[in-house]
């Protein structure tokens, strides 16, 4: 039996975006997926605005260093350094919240979703907010553009050069980290190059550096102008030529397409489809937009086996809930804590290989936490969890030390077993239910539960509607819609898209 347009469009919205938004609910069954995709594409066609969250203090500091740099080298005092680090850390946090807000509210769903994919592909940890802003801008601008162009821009970004130690890559003192990761993680994948290729490529990248503002600088005196041999080709290559050699390899198209397929289509790969896609991606000269169009306009993308087949990443889950249930959050910190507890904090990938994804998202505690979120939104209950400390971000501070002292706890319920000093965290969300409830006004009461379930879940659930009803508030239409929605969102099935 073929799926309805509604299910197909929901599938499209979950994969080519962060899930259907409440405003779209009426439209999901009105259009074909092709029409829906055309709409998505159009909404993403505009060049994205540069996201700038760095505060004036930091900007002044950078300008000051630049000014002074022209006359003499200026060193920051220890206090200035500390303040700069702190401000920069706050900046990265604000960047996180800002971008997540875009994911929830932007019409450019396809672009933000693709940028989110590249954010995991070109994974980079860097505490410098200017560097991170610059890198994010590269990813968002090129998200649907040309992979080669993006690869070159990323490779010249201060964030990546710095993260992968290319500042220390100098003629006669090579640091191979950057060259290795470019091959292993950004283009070819492990096993498709030799150690010798890495060594030679590292020589070509010598002298690639960035200034304090984060602009690319070529330091000619550190560059090795000699002859290098990479993947069978010899010449006095520079870094850009090495990237071209990597792009000439069809393996790069295969590697990228496979990663993209797992993310957008299915963790389980269909080899024929993959080969077809990779072939066309390569022939197009690495046009990402075309590749995505090949995927989202194909019949097989909407096959039943691909629908609801992937486990939502924490960001997809958190953003997806907010798209369906528009809410005002009293405290952004809750979004940060959820990301950390569930294991995906934007701008802090575990390492340069990015988040492993799939089943790796799920363990006993992360699953229970995921299933508790809807209740936490509704009850203003305490989250009662502490995320792991991340010393790269906290510089030795105790978790929450620099945050507002304990949110006010409504109701005065005593959490069992809470240890002294545990940070109190509540989501404190003001959900705009009106809009959501209105979308179901034409549905007869008997069909309500089923309709909500169809809207929220991408897999058929073995859980009976009677059970959902039993745990929902049946005292009125609106109450029922609200409570049934929250119950369904706390089911394992809701973790899939």
């Amino acid at each position: 039996m073929s799926l309805t347009n509604q299910v197909k469009n929901q599938h499209l919205m979950w994969r080519a975006g962060f899930g259907p938004a409440v405003e779209q609910l009426g439209d999901l069954s009105k259009f074909t997926p092709k029409q829906f995709y055309t709409g998505l594409l159009k909404a993403s066609s505009k060049k994205p605005e540069y996201i700038d969250v760095a505060d004036d203090y930091l900007k002044g500091l950078v300008m000051g260093i630049e000014e002074a740099g022209r006359q003499q080298k200026k060193e920051l005092s220890a206090d200035e350094k500390k303040l700069r680090q702190q401000k920069s850390r706050e900046g990265v946090r604000n960047l996180n919240i800002y971008w997540m807000h875009e994911m929830v509210n932007s019409a450019s769903q396809l672009r933000e979703k693709a940028a989110f994919f590249w954010h995991g592909h070109f994974a980079c940890r860097n505490l410098n907010v200017f560097y991170q802003q610059g890198l994010l801008d590269i990813l968002r601008r090129n998200a649907l553009g040309n992979f080669g162009t993006m690869l070159k821009e990323v490779s010249k970004s201060a964030a990546m050069l710095n993260f992968l130690n290319n500042q220390q890559n100098r003629k006669d003192h090579p640091n191979e980290n950057f060259a290795r990761e470019v091959m292993e993680l950004f283009t070819l994948g492990r096993g498709n190059y030799t150690e010798h290729d890495v060594k030679e490529a590292a020589r070509a990248f010598t002298g690639w550096s960035a200034d304090v503002k984060g602009d690319y600088v070529f330091r000619r005196f550190q560059h090795d102008f000699g002859t290098k041999t990479i993947l069978g080709k010899s010449g006095d290559f520079d870094g850009e030529e090495v990237l071209d050699i990597l792009l000439e390899q069809k393996q790069t198209a295969k590697y990228i397409t496979q990663k993209l397929y797992k993310f957008f289509v299915n963790e389980k790969i269909d080899k024929d489809k993959l080969d077809w896609l990779a072939d066309r991606f390569y022939k197009s000269g690495y046009e990402i937009g075309k590749l995505l169009e090949d995927i989202f306009t194909s019949e097989w993308f909407y096959d039943e086996k691909n629908v609801g087949a992937n486990i939502k990443s924490p960001v997809e889950l958190i953003v997806g809930i907010q798209r369906m249930l528009p809410m005002k959050l009293e405290n952004d910190e809750a979004l940060m804590l959820l990301q950390r507890v569930l294991g995906q904090l934007l701008f802090y990938p575990p390492n340069v290989a990015g988040w492993p994804g799939g089943k790796a998202w799920i363990d006993s505690s992360s699953l229970m936490m995921r299933m508790r979120i809807p209740k936490l939104i509704n009850d203003i209950d305490e989250m009662n969890v502490n995320a792991k400390a991340d010393d790269d971000t906290m510089m030795g501070m105790k978790d929450g030390e620099d945050q507002a002292k304990g949110n006010k706890k409504p109701g005065g319920k005593q959490a069992a077993g809470a240890y002294a000093g545990m940070r109190r965290q509540v989501i404190n969300a003001d959900v705009d239910w009106k809009q959501y409830v209105k979308k179901f006004e034409s549905v007869i009461r008997e069909k309500l539960g089923e309709e909500i379930s169809k809207t929220l879940l991408q897999v058929k659930s073995g859980v009976s509607m009677d059970l959902i009803k039993q745990f929902s508030d049946e005292t009125g239409r609106e109450n029922f819609i609200r409570t049934a929605t929250l119950q369904i969102m706390s089911m394992p099935e809701y973790q899939l898209c």
């Binding site: 363990d363 229970m368 105790k398 000093g421």
Partner: protein, 399 residues
């Protein structure tokens, strides 16, 4: 007496959980008995990069005091272990352990091409990877994969925390994070969760949704199991009311029960002492010292000290030279404490760091931490260390 209690658990757990748990987990409910003498590992992670040189102090070494004019711990303050080795003054309990033969110190532990990022270096320790290799599962997770194939016992490894560490995540089997058995039990007993679990029929399915339900079922039944076990023999000993004190108390109660847990994991931090190191490290060491002291005393009283191996590690040590803020910056090799009544080698196991032979201001490692892992896996846990670590690392002699 013992048999009676065993029977009771069997009946108890069947009565509380069996009605609610899908068939594929039933086996797990009845197979959970462990013989006394069960060897367990307690991993104590010192997060943030503990300064090893101010933990185990070379109080005869002029180079040490030269590098640390203000931070160096003076000879009269260090707790003297040997003619040249002392301990941080806060670690009195560790000195007592040293005197009783319950402590071993391993110096210069690290790995080739060390990484100075907290996260990355911790990753390397958790996954037991090389520094240019990215693994997505942890060494103790792979222990679960190799030991528990088909037996579905997520309680074989327990982390006392809200969030599970990568170290305990295997490819197929993951440990369980429990900060407080009672609280987990409360969450898991959310009636809605129990009910939808009963509703899910496809037990052996291969779909992601089946994986989610399987994880959920394991969590719910583990929550029951851990909670029941934790109540069975709760320790009466006095522990400090600190985070680590509470955690080790929970661990002790579980060790004294009949639970099948082989690995316990707990963290303390942050040891990232870039500024005013002395106060912060001192505070954390006091917490560690008092908690471990109470733990060991408790284990000894219950005659279980020889069955427990507690070891400490940190993602890296710190620079030899102190910095300008009375702290230290990220470094490389570090020392590890091994605490057990079953140590074959005791005391200071190898030479102190050579402060005259540094690599750009950092200590050179000469013991790969993967050799320590291999020793614990192979000799202590009797596991297949080669399968778990991916290659053969020679075992050390402390077990």
């Amino acid at each position: 007496m013992y048999i009676k209690r065993k029977k009771f658990i069997q009946i108890g757990s069947l009565a509380t959980a069996s009605l609610l748990v899908p068939k594929f987990l039933k086996a797990f409910e009845s197979k959970s008995m462990v013989i006394p003498g069960n060897k367990v590992v307690v991993i104590l992670q010192l997060s943030g990069g503990n300064d090893g040189l101010n933990t185990v102090i070379p109080f005869r070494n002029d180079l040490y005091y030269k590098a640390r004019p203000r931070l160096g711990i003076t000879k009269d303050k260090a707790l003297r272990l040997t003619d040249e080795v002392g301990l941080n003054p806060a670690l009195t309990g560790f000195r007592d352990l040293f005197d009783d033969g319950g402590l071993a110190i391993l110096n210069n532990v690290g790995y080739p091409n060390p990484d100075r990022s907290h996260f990355r270096s911790m990753d390397i320790w958790h996954t037991a990877s090389e520094s240019n290799e990215y693994l997505t599962n942890g060494w103790m997770g792979r222990y679960l994969d190799s030991q528990c194939k088909g037996c579905d016992k997520p309680t074989q490894a327990i982390e006392i925390d809200d969030v599970l560490s990568l170290a305990l995540k295997g490819e197929n089997i993951k440990g369980i994070a429990v900060k407080d058995p009672r609280r987990l039990y409360g969450t898991a007993n959310e009636k809605f969760f129990r009910e939808i679990l009963k509703n899910h029929q496809d037990e052996a399915g291969e779909q992601p949704v089946d994986y989610l339900y399987k994880t959920m079922a394991e969590t719910l039944s583990s929550a029951d199991y851990i909670f029941q076990q934790s109540k069975m023999h709760p320790t009466n000993a006095v522990y400090p009311t600190t985070g680590l004190g509470n955690s080790l108390k929970t661990i002790a109660s579980l060790i004294f029960s009949e639970i099948n847990t082989k690995v316990y994991y707990v963290s303390l931090g942050s040891f990232d002492t870039h500024i005013n190191q002395e106060a912060q490290q001192g505070r954390l060491f006091t917490e560690m010292n008092d908690a471990v002291k109470a733990f060991v005393k408790d284990l000894k009283a219950q005659h279980r000290f020889e069955d427990v191996m507690l070891f400490t590690f940190s993602e890296f040590g710190r620079r030899v030279q102190q910095n300008a803020s009375n702290g230290t910056d990220h470094g490389t090799a570090n020392n590890m404490f091994l605490v057990s009544g079953g140590l074959k080698q005791k005391g200071v196991l190898n030479a102190m760091p050579d402060l005259g032979d540094l690599n750009e201001g950092d200590l050179k490692y000469n013991v790969d931490f993967k050799n320590v892992y291999a020793t614990i896996l192979n000799k202590w846990l009797k596991a297949d260390d080669i399968a778990i670590l991916g290659k053969k690392y020679d075992c050390l002699g402390f077990v």
